[in-house]
Symmetry: D3
Subunit: 227 residues, 6 copies
């Protein structure tokens, strides 16, 4: 499916205010707001805990064991972007370390999401450059084959189109299509609006069974209580 050897320089990014605002909602709420789709597979984990970001996707397609295109994608980064890296086959090599992170950060990238491995993770943490990856590995890569930049890619099981919004935190990584970003933000905010009230009720000992009026449908579904 992939078009190889091309770099798209002009992509249409999601509205930056919307893209920026989604971080605060978090990946779980955003995922729910989209109707429970958009989530990358849960093997994608942050290399250090606590980061919570959103931004517009620039994508890169790499070959196994070859990080040449990482330098190509660096040039296409604009402030507020998150780089999303897909590989044409399964690979855990360390495609990305502190030098590339320095370059990405200088270009304004907020994070890297990569369906492979990274290294120099201690330094990346000190630089506060968050990465969500499938692996951590010292294994280096070569620079011999060309992939593509800013084509739609499948990363950890999810299609990411350049310009989409990526939301990532300790719970995982969600991709919001550009054209759904505004509606998703609104839905996510609505979802969160009454969470505080719910939390207070639950904290006071009210049960979800009562708060959500579940007793009747549970009985209708056949649930029996036995003393």
């Amino acid at each position: 499916m992939y078009e190889l050897g091309v770099v798209y320089r002009n992509i249409q990014r999601a509205d930056s205010a919307t893209a920026d605002a989604l971080a605060a909602l978090g990946s779980a709420t955003v995922h729910e707001a989209m109707g429970r789709v958009g989530l990358l597979k849960p093997y994608m984990r942050p290399i250090f805990p606590g980061a919570q970001v959103s931004g517009t996707a620039v994508t890169v397609l790499l070959h196994p064991g070859d990080n040449w295109m990482m330098h190509v994608v660096a040039e296409q980064i604009q402030p507020g972007d998150i780089v999303v890296a897909a590989i044409t086959a399964e690979c855990t090599d360390g495609y990305f370390g502190d030098l590339l992170a320095t370059s990405f950060q200088a270009r304004g990238a907020r994070a890297l999401v990569i369906d492979a491995g990274v290294r120099d993770v201690k330094t990346l943490k000190e630089m506060n450059f968050p990465v969500w990856s499938k692996a951590i590995s010292s294994k280096g890569t070569i620079k011999a084959t060309i992939g593509s930049v800013n084509i739609p890619v499948v990363c950890a099981g999810m299609l990411v189109t350049p310009g989409d919004v990526v939301v990532a935190d300790d719970d995982g990584v969600v991709c919001v299509p550009r054209e759904k970003a505004a509606a998703t933000l609104e839905a996510a905010r609505k979802r969160e609006a009454n969470e505080g009230e719910k939390r207070d009720k639950l904290a006071s000992g009210v049960l979800g069974l009562d708060m959500y009026k579940m007793r009747e449908p549970l009985a209708a579904a056949g649930l029996k209580y036995i003393d």
Copy 2:
């Protein structure tokens, strides 16, 4: 990314002569002819050995543990199609058995490619209905939530757009974009054209080192022989 709750009835299928002809080339040759892209992850395995098929993709998006949409996609099958089923989260449940296979076969489907499990595999083999799946499992599914039919889906790590050509055999499953089907067929045939001659040479004891003139580039790359 996924649009939920929709069934696209009119999709543009790849030219059927082209789609049919690709089976004979096999997944490995077709994958090479496309520039080594298009392959679904190798965990996708045939439920019985020996089947080699190609056809046009109709796609279905399912929820974990819920096969309701399988009945919806059945109606959209045309003779020569291969059903490609994706799930919104990882799942190994048995979404498909002999009754659905009977229905799919009656509609003209040639195979199922599913990123989950199937069951009744002994009967499916007797029916000669090939399936490439991630798992075999007796685990049944419910019919409670709706997904979509004939939207682009990510199946086993690969984007499949309705109407694309799917080629599957004992080596795996490849997706050929509709618009590249003709060029891929031509490239694959060219690739295969001189394989007979090569095979004869190798069978006679000629080495690939000589046939492909690799000795010089290997030496240039630094290879040393030690006696």
Copy 3:
């Protein structure tokens, strides 16, 4: 949870006529008839295709890399039994080969279900002694530590109590509690009774959508067709 170092000689087996009759229904139908519970994890695979058996469970708990108790359980086998072997930790060693199979078969065992590895699989196939296992491995085991026989065990994620009925085929392995065996057999037969009629309808081109009257509930769930 496990009681170690004990062999229960007197267990209450499920009615043998019922236990025998469940094989013909197959693991998928039996699993459905129980309300979609009772299935061992799908990593349990037959070492050769085509076997379809049922029988009463005698259980054995083994330690990693130690098959001593396999000889102890052999004595407790009665004709019509299936041995269910659990291990106290994850292990893929080959606990069972042609000699033990000869002994089990001589005692009347119909099959082995083991959450670990087996070996001599070519010979086991020639002997027609079916095994469902997690792995195939030449790795031998020692005889140094004692486990238990005929205590309730967890095998591949499922609790199996001695005397329960085990049903296994190419789709997987299901455990039917002794006290539910008769009701399950009846439910499974009922389930299968009208499958022939359904199959004929589907084969004639009738859609499941119509046969199961799904169009209305799908529309109610929000499914939209787009031309």
Copy 4:
């Protein structure tokens, strides 16, 4: 094996003083004290490091991708309980987040042990509500099917009966049957009693070889030293 659609309201919990006291011993010592059984599979990991708890098990059986019963089990929690959640098939979805944690905490639960995924992990850490899980995932769940509460369940390969004691820390999760809780506590304390003395000896440079008098049995087993 599982009885579906039932909630047992009256379970017999292990003695609370015993249940409480086991936390201090830790999962490794408790596991040894029981004869090296009772451990849940090591893929069960804490969502944040440092928590060390014990408590009485209330159990819940859930279906894949469906967390409805989490609200049902909440009502059955008593102060000092640990909720143990099993799923009828493999699933990594995020069944549990900050709202449910608020409710569980309000009811007196000390922790959750779940053979699936959880989300809102940053907030859970802030709330100091520990969870041991198989995965972390933003993936939400539906509320459509009923399971059971307070039946015996298999969680991460281990049978847990309601009222058993669960001990969990950074090393893993152990289940102590209710009727063995007192004896296990005593055995664990005995085990720990002389650990301080051993530690001092080892710290002073004494070898385990000498402290445990292993040189002779090692030689008897055939160990040879080569200079």
Copy 5:
């Protein structure tokens, strides 16, 4: 650890009569005869069932996604050899297909053992060229980087030195060091010598408990029978 870019042309192969004779014993017996060491990890599976071979190892070290050295090793094959291929990182790509198999077979190779993927498996079966591999995959490889031939390699967790004997069948793959081949053959034959007699006894219903005189040591270990 690996020396890169070298091809050792003169290796000392195990005695060919010994190497040939080990096939008949099978991997499980040979593994036992060596004291339960030498086994490659059990994820190494034959691409078709029934093959049982032994031969002398020629080794090749490859980089991920690059099969260039396969052509280099072909030249070093002598009749009776088995090629053992290791990769410097985890990879499932299809390094080997029918053309290379034709070349290997023409040179006298008996099999390939590869810690990665192969393709054209249907043709390989027709050619009766057995392969033990970690994966089957259509994914092709490039020819860009050099590894080594006939250096000691780690394949599927086991060290294989050129000239060692490899024994492979449906149960797995074992490596016998050259200098231990003769002793291993003798030990394996001794092991097998009295298997026929044992098998007859067990088939007649004699228990291993009695044949191996296990009742007393089991009782000494604390085993209790409960009626």
Copy 6:
């Protein structure tokens, strides 16, 4: 391949100044300096973040579920050593806890690298005794079978010879053969020498494309820019 039941007391360790100096370079740089070989599989992870060590390898071969030889290897530790533990089959049991760590630390060991599990990880962190392992598990082990000490072992896919240098940090674990330690240190230092300058350039916004003069070779490889 393994020689069982032997303890080599006199091994030739790499020069200690060299071994000590490699820690500061880190596993990724050292791995590159060796030509991208020597890395243990990336499933080897530190039990707590931040440790960065190097030292000379003393090796131990253990059987699954049996840690007896851990006490034997303790005696062979000299200040500056790192213990490398391999297992004859896959195992996740907790072979090592705070008591053994106390002993190892008292003997001068800097770390443990083990292709299995460890426990008491909270205490190990408090002791600042770093471990790189495949798993964390409370599961205890027995002391019944003998392996070997200071023989070459395969640990996490890599051959480690006693006296080699091990370098481990948050990125992974690398093994440097003794005879290559000095050359590797020099190559690694050279590699690092101009990293500061590169980092400054990249931080100022210079692209790797320009700094490494990649534009021309990328164009030669066929890369196209599309506006």
